[in-house]
Amino acid sequence: MAIELTRRTFLTGAGGAVVLSLGYLGWRAAQPGDASIGAATPGGHGSPIPRVAYESYEDIWRAKWRWDSVAKSTHFVNCWYQRGCNWNVYVKDGIVWREEQSGTYEPISPKIPDYNPRGCQKGACYSERMYDGARMRYPLKRAGERGAGKWQRVSWDEALTDIADKLIDAMISAEGPGSVIWDQGTAQTNGGAGFAMLRTSLVLDTPVLDVNTEIGDHRPGFCVTTGKMVHCSSSDDLFHSDLILIWGGNPFYTQIPQAHFITEARYNGARVITIAPDYSASAVHADQWVPVKVATDAALGLSMAHVMIEEGIYNKRYVQEQTDLPLLTRVDNGRLLRGSDVEQGGADDRFHVFDRATGRRVEISQRTLDLGDLDPALEGEFEIDTWNGKLKVRPVFAQLREHLQQYAPEKAVAICGVDPEVIRQLARDLAKARAATCIAQSNFSKYYHGIEMERAQILCFALAGQMGRKGAGYMAFPYLSVDGTDALANLKGQGNPKLQLAALGLKMAPRFIADKLRGHTKEMTIYDLARDEFRHGAFPPSLLWLYHQGGYKELYGSSEKWDPAMKRPLSSFMDEAIEKGWHFKPATRPRIFMEAGGNVLRRFRGYDVMIEKLLPTLDLMVTIDWRMSNTALYSDYVLPAAAWYEKDDITWATPLSPFSQVVTRAAKPIAEAKPDWEIHCLLLKTIQRRAAERGIGTFKDRHGEERRFDVYDQFTFDGRYHEDNVEELLDLILDVSTNVGDVDWKKLKEKGFQRFTALGDNGFMNIGNATDVSEHDTITAGLWHTEKKMPWPTLTRRLQFCIDHPFYEELGERLPVHKDQPNIGGNYPLYMTGGHTRWSIHASWRDDKYMLRLNRGQPVIYMSVEDALARGIEDGDRVRVFNDINSSEMQVKVAAAHRPGQATCYHAWEPFMYPNRKSYSTLTPNPINPVQLAGGYYHLQPMPAVFSPGSTDRATRVEIEKIG
């Protein structure tokens, strides 16, 4: 402990002074005209004070390029696909002056381009952003109408005391702690110390919204097919590809730091094909651009699948081994033939193939994908004996082949607008590629029928055998993080966390052993545990919460109004799903909404409903943020958080950039801002103090158990990790992590990053990548499945295309299908599409002047030349975008690159940038697709982040008219 303190004191105290004095000496020793470097100290804390004599004009410029200290950092924000860039932050006079990418990632192999210099224009100006006019400097209390921007500056003590009292009131009320809802925003949570919010909610027993499906990042089609969401290779794995499909993403906007791997793979001989309705920034560097009609990608994919099957160019061994396509289905009802169909009392999760080698039905292993000598039939119809008589069966493949006839290229062109010849060529290219990658992002996730678009894509990649090989794969949800955080976030007790973890490990061991004995993979057990935990209701999926408790039933539940395939209302599906225990119904009326760095009043589709319906019923709304977001603007209190260069933490990461990265306290928090770890400590300290002062000893948790109000003691692990020693906590996180080697906080802080060494043994997200991580090679997702023959975590233990769930059957989606995009929003001629923007990460830079000055300085909608002309609209006009739901005013950009019939609003404009505070997001009813309520079917069960209904705002119908 003493040694730790000495180290910190040196770094934060003496270090700066030493540098300054050396710099000063260097300057004094200057020789006229000599511009060579003066002082430098080891370890990157030097200041390149040029020996400036001011004799020439050039010296004036030299003197501008100077600083006092350098710290490693990055941006503690959810850049997701493109997150994880190591920056040097240059500090001058106690203020961050500028940042520049470190460019110090080591090459893994001479034949693979390295990761330098990861970064983007947004990160490159955070030094400006963190001090601009949106920055939170003091705790503020609302002093006027919500949203009016009228504030009273209050002290931390005043704010925390009032908030603590109201939290205590709610917790001891009849509604209990379940009435306090947290939103885990991406700017202040996750990562290392960012788990503070999760730990706060754990000790208070207050629910935290599970935001992933509501955001629409849950990759539902990938999930129903593979049983998981997380699955992604490293960006440099693209260099092994000879075919790259950019299909369902716009990486040249949203993967800026690693886009070079695409252009460099292209120079390395890979063919790049971009499939998108508009000639996007990601089409510019393609070898072929395939214009597809909006929301018809499922038809295109299924047509490609049809071609691969009919031409016999699919990868037969991959299909037999890795997919459910050889599994037998009943001819009478189309369902998978289960053990219970074959033998009386047989298992419902045992499946069969028809072995061509022996000419017999064989139950297929659930423990391995290794087929041994089996040669499962893909075609044909067979008669088998069962306990219940003879039964006609055929493989899923045969059923699929018949089903896909409707998507023959000559028919599909009428749906997706892509030439039959092009469809055939795409299918052949994919089938014959040495290694093909699909750069898909979470775009299709956000379509009403996006589930089918993703299923169709994966079907193509599975038929072509393009998954789980170097340079081959489908990019699903990228996640790979320091796993110590996951472990610590779940510790309920207040004792020594390391002892607790050890005890937890011992407690879990029998479960893993028992599961292994019954043939479950570790991955499956981890998901099972996550599902069990999820049932306790600590993480209500936000769409379900909004539907049941937030006033959104009418809007989000309006599905049958738009979806012609529904024979009963959404509420009927919802009731059934709840009645059967597939989903739970958040039942407690919310009294307090705590926003920790997220931005629900920008993010919730139709956020205006929350303002109208929910906010007036709340006792309190608090936002913790470093900037005044739209959510902050409507809150009762706003607590100023430290900016990303003002705190120490470890960020969460992805395999795309497979490095654990730090943010560090390059400069002190401005004014009264505090790191969020400290804010949570102080909040809990205040709750504990106020409860004691008010003579309140206990509260009843959501399960009726009495809990003591010594919440600060619990939170801090009995005083071990508190507001003043966050660096010790970060050391602990690294200590208990199993996937970043033996790095400690001091080493990590100095280097800024550390490459992952494994997926790790803790946490439930990393394991989905199902691969080993080696020091000198790219990371390729799924090798455990293809090389180790590890079963997929689905009902059939295979990539599963036949989902014989009653909801899927009722909605005609047992096999992947194309369904027309419903007229969501009304019968209007234009599809309003979206996508993440080049110019911001969510709303974090949306009102940043440096970024705004490089576009139009205001929200815009892109439209085609043809559509603009037909409406007498010119580039730069103010327009009204409207439909049955609402209307929103913005400026128009008329682009030759845009597809007629499509109008695009890129992501995350803040509502306070629009007249009447009505953003494009008010236009979407965001109807829940009932198919996403399916549950009770091994892998179709909710767990954190997946298998609950998602948002559906893409391709909402609108019309656009000129204003004035």
Partner: protein
């Protein structure tokens, strides 16, 4: 002309010959790797142009091409030299043509109780709503859907071998460094006459409205002097800005410009002999309404590319195509290996590999 010392002669045409520096630094921008992210613009902004009077300056900027550029329609403004060596008439672009640095009513909306009617809006220096900006026509492009086309064209001062700005300055405030050919405006000598802005055919010089002097890209010479690559180049995540000496036969610049002849100057006809070169953009072929490609019809009209990069652009694109095909066949290609940049920074700016944090 007054007698000039040797240093002041560099870059001037004297006795029918342009006096050259000892060495010339140059950049090559690979347009097949530019993703239009503007990290260069911002890197430059935070490095040099944050001071009062410099708000609207983007010494480095990225244009969507085809497009009007920065400043608006600069290509039609004249400047530079005629083929016979005489100055081409031009004019000084206005502040609105460059695109102003708008101000925003952030305080009113967020903190000062502007009320729910208040919303964030940009205002230009005249207090009006902006009608143009430095990147106003981003991603709009040309052609007719589905044969729309565009690409990104990063631009900065070309540090020309025969800078029109230098010749035009009546104060002798502009000079070209002997050791590396970097063109600088000494703003202690500059009186803000702006003849340089008129003379520069690329219109890459800005006017500082506070200091009343002309300012432009300085090729990050304080960094260069320390062995550090310019901010725009070192911070480019697309890894498309090569930096080096034109005469270094082992360096990527010489190889791309002189050996492989794939990097071409922008608007060579402007007559200033620029030292920024571009690897021209490939593009996916034209398609029918249903997306059927026609490889014989390039998406970006070749005439357009010729207008920008001259007649050699066809040849350059053919070489890139051919070398790319070699790689696809599994053969070696020195050109592709150079453009790939396996090792950063050694392969992209070999003489300027220092990390500034270690200085």
């Amino acid at each position: 002309m007054n007698p000039l010392d040797q240093a002041a002669r560099i870059g001037r045409e004297i006795d029918g010959k342009v006096v050259k520096p000892r060495r010339q630094l140059a950049m090559v921008f690979d347009l097949n790797k530019c993703i239009g992210c503007h990290t260069c613009s911002i890197a430059c902004k935070t490095q040099w142009t944050r001071e009062e009077g410099m708000e609207e300056m983007y010494w480095a900027v990225v244009n969507t091409a085809p497009g009007k550029g920065t400043p608006k329609d600069y290509e039609t403004m004249g400047g530079g030299f005629e083929a016979n060596g005489l100055a081409r008439p031009s004019r000084i672009p206005g502040r609105e043509e460059y695109g102003d640095a708008w101000q925003f009513n952030q305080k009113e909306v967020l903190f000062d109780g502007g009320g729910k009617e208040a919303y964030l809006q940009p205002t230009n220096f005249k207090g009006e709503k902006p009608k143009w900006g430095p990147n106003w026509d981003e991603d709009e492009g040309g052609g007719e859907y589905p044969n729309s086309h565009f690409f990104y064209l990063p631009r900065l001062c070309n540090h020309c071998t025969h800078p029109a700005c230098l010749e035009a300055c009546p104060r002798g405030a502009i000079y070209k460094r002997e050791q590396d050919g970097i063109v600088l405006i000494d703003d202690q000598k500059c009186k803000g006459y702006r003849f340089c802005m008129e003379a520069c055919p690329y219109k890459r010089i800005y006017y500082n409205h506070v200091k009343l002097v002309s300012q432009k890209c300085i090729f990050c010479f304080p960094r260069i002097d320390q062995g550090v690559a310019p901010a725009c180049a070192r911070q480019c995540p697309g890894r498309m800005r090569f930096v080096g000496y034109l005469d270094d036969e082992n360096g990527p610049i010489h190889k791309l410009v002189h050996k492989w002849k794939v990097a071409l100057p922008l608007h060579e006809e402007f007559g200033t002999d620029p030292n920024v070169f571009y690897v021209p953009p490939l593009s996916p072929p034209s398609v029918t309404e249903t997306g059927k490609p026609d490889p014989s019809k390039p998406r970006i009209p070749t005439e357009y590319l010729e207008r920008l990069f001259g007649p050699r652009v066809r040849e350059s694109l053919a070489i890139i195509d051919e070398e790319k095909a070699k790689k696809a066949r599994g053969e070696e290609s020195e050109l592709m290996d150079i453009l790939i940049v396996y090792r950063w920074p050694e392969d992209i700016f070999p003489d300027f590999t220092k990390d500034p944090a270690t200085l």
